[in-house]
Every structure is written in C-alpha cells, then in structure tokens.
Assembly symmetry: C2
Homo-oligomer: 201 residues x 2
C-alpha cells in the first residue's frame, strides 16, 4: 500500500510542490541520505520556504507520509467491481510480480521510513493508521463478498489482518532480499482465496 | 525468524563474547544509535580487540547476523514432530501473540538491520540467505506432510514462500505499528492450514 506515486503532473499548490520534491529526493537519497537541503534541490521555489514550514527532516517526512495516505484514501480503487474481482485487483496491485524501477526506489524509501517506527512513536502512529486504512478497505470488500454469498462466512477482519500482514511482508521482502519468489506468493494467495474464501458453487 | 537469543549463558569464546556484547548493545541502542564504542561498553575484554577484528559497525553487525543465522540453522527445532504439529510449532513460534520485552527490543533491532538491505547489498545478501533458510525449513516440513498424505498435493515451495512472507510481515508489523491484530493473523493462518493444506480425512 501507499506505493502509488501521484507526482506525475504539475503541482497545484506549494504543499504539493514540497511533497513532490520530497518524493524525488527520497527516491534519490533514501532516508539516511536525505536532508532538507537535498529536498530543496528538487524544489523550484525558495528553500527558505521549506525551513519555514518544517523544523526537521522527520517533520517533513511525516507530513509527506500523511499526504500519501490521504492520496491513497481518496483513490478508492475499483469500487464498482464485484467483491471477488475487487479483492483480486487489490492483491494484484499489492503483490505485483515485478516492480518498475521508479516504484522500487520509492518502496525502498518507504521500507526505510517504516523501520523508523521501531524507535520513533510518530512514525509508529502513522503506520498504525495506514495499516488500519488498508485493513478496513480489505475487510469491507470481504464483508461485501460474505453478504453477497460469494465468500464463505469468514471473519472479514481476520482475513483483512492476514492479507495486510502478507502485503507488508511482500513489500518489505521485495526490497530487502533478492526478488525470486513473489510470483509464487501471489499464486499461493490465489489458492488461499479459492480454498478458504470462495463459497461452494 | 532469527529472533531467538542464544545469549543467556557465559560466552565460551572471544567471538561469542563479542556477539553477546553486540546483542546487548543492539537491544539498548538500536541500529542508528549503535557504535563500536557502545558495543565495547558491554564487552569485558579490551575494546581494542573489537577494532582489531572489525573495520566498521556494519562489518560487526553483518558478522553478528551470520552468527545468529548459524545458531538458527543449528537449532533444528522439533525435528521429531509429525508434519502438522511441526508446522504448527514453527508458526506458533514465529507468530506468537505477544513478544516478551527483551525479544521486542531485539526484533526492533532486526527490523532496523533488515531495512539497511534497501540500500546495502551486504545486508541484502544476508537476508536473502536467511529467508532461504526459513523457506527451506518450511518447504521440507510441507514436503514431508504431502509425502505422508497428511497434506494435500500442494507445491511445498509456494506454501513456504507464502508463509515466509507472512512471517516477515508479522515480524515487521509488530514493532512498527500498534500490536492489535497479531492474534487474528495466527487464527487465520490456522484456517489457511485447515482449508488449503490438510488432506480430507
């Protein structure tokens, strides 16, 4: 989740321009190499604006994560799909076999940011909320499927927690180990959906 | 995986003493706060020994990860259990509902170390191998179960990759977000084992 990058167009506001500069600097330098100065290198307006708005690199990054989460929440993907296809679309997106290079760099940065949560409560609060957003999205799809009789009478929250954990694991693994097995994981998730979720015809 | 801590007894060799000091310093300071100096604070012998053996904190940490992996490989847990019970034991251990405080601190440090792999190939090589070790252990249990007719005719490698991803996700999540849902994940894994793996009676 939160691996989309809504930064292809021209930024409409100063905040968007700051977020876009942060995105590019994060891709280029990763968390450890990032400084407000380096974010400024990707920012067309005066760098003093950055220092005016943010006291530290972490404050800026936390605002950036907030911005990305709001983008994710607004996107509300494929809401008109039926439950089975909707779940497939979410899983296809989250467990895609191969990441394009630009998304890989971004995922690397997100994994580094998430690791900050191990010792920084502000990051921890953020990722608790962003996990919750993904979990609720999946639980709502599963609930629809149960109500429609497409899925068995499973606990939507358990299924969503399970799939969230799997997606977080895949996102982490794919940038911290050689990517050899992600395709197999997607296949086994499909087997899980079929054997555990799908109601008998 | 690699969240056991074989450092309760007296170290038998200098290397073990260095590893034990690294373990305690890592728990206390995390990756970012760690220095060879601080590892030395937990080391009874001369600190110059540390500088003699290791050129940098990362070299020492990579050796530490190697040491932990070897410990994990030697442990070979519960090899005499039948496949179903063996798999349960591995999953119970990896997805325990609540981490004791000392194991939590250590898991936090492991998650931070793993995040280094996003931009450091040496860490990436290590975690690729440690993932492989866990994956092979699980695949071998599943293969035994398929051969014994306890499990269905599943692909042991797909199942192992799937469970590895889940375990990595759980390990990451439990120290980077509020721990609210791990119990549910264990329950849903049990449902996966029952619906997907267990052969019909």
């Amino acid at each position: 989740m939160a691996d989309a990058h809504p930064f292809s167009g021209e930024p409409a506001t100063t905040r968007e321009a700051i977020m876009q500069a942060t995105f590019h600097a994060l891709r280029e330098h990763g968390y450890a190499g990032l400084t407000i100065q380096r974010i400024g290198d990707h920012f067309e307006k005066s760098k003093s604006l950055l220092y005016h708005h943010y006291d530290s690199k972490d404050e800026l990054l936390l605002d950036f994560l907030e911005f990305m989460l709001a983008e994710f929440e607004q996107a509300a993907p494929d809401d008109d799909l039926p439950p089975r296809e909707h779940l497939d679309a979410v899983l296809d997106h989250a467990l895609a076999a191969k990441l394009p290079d630009d998304q890989r760099e971004f995922t690397e940065a997100m994994v580094e940011l998430r690791a900050q949560a191990a010792h920084d409560d502000r990051y921890r609060d953020h990722f608790t909320r962003s996990d919750e957003t993904f979990r609720e999205e999946v639980a709502s799809i599963v609930r629809d499927g149960v109500n429609a009789g497409v899925f068995r009478d499973v606990d939507p929250d358990d299924v969503a927690s399970f799939l969230l954990t799997l997606v977080n694991g895949a996102m982490n693994q794919r940038v911290t180990a050689e990517e050899t097995q992600t395709g197999d994981v997607r296949e086994e998730v499909e087997a899980y959906v079929q054997s555990r979720l799908l109601a008998d015809e």
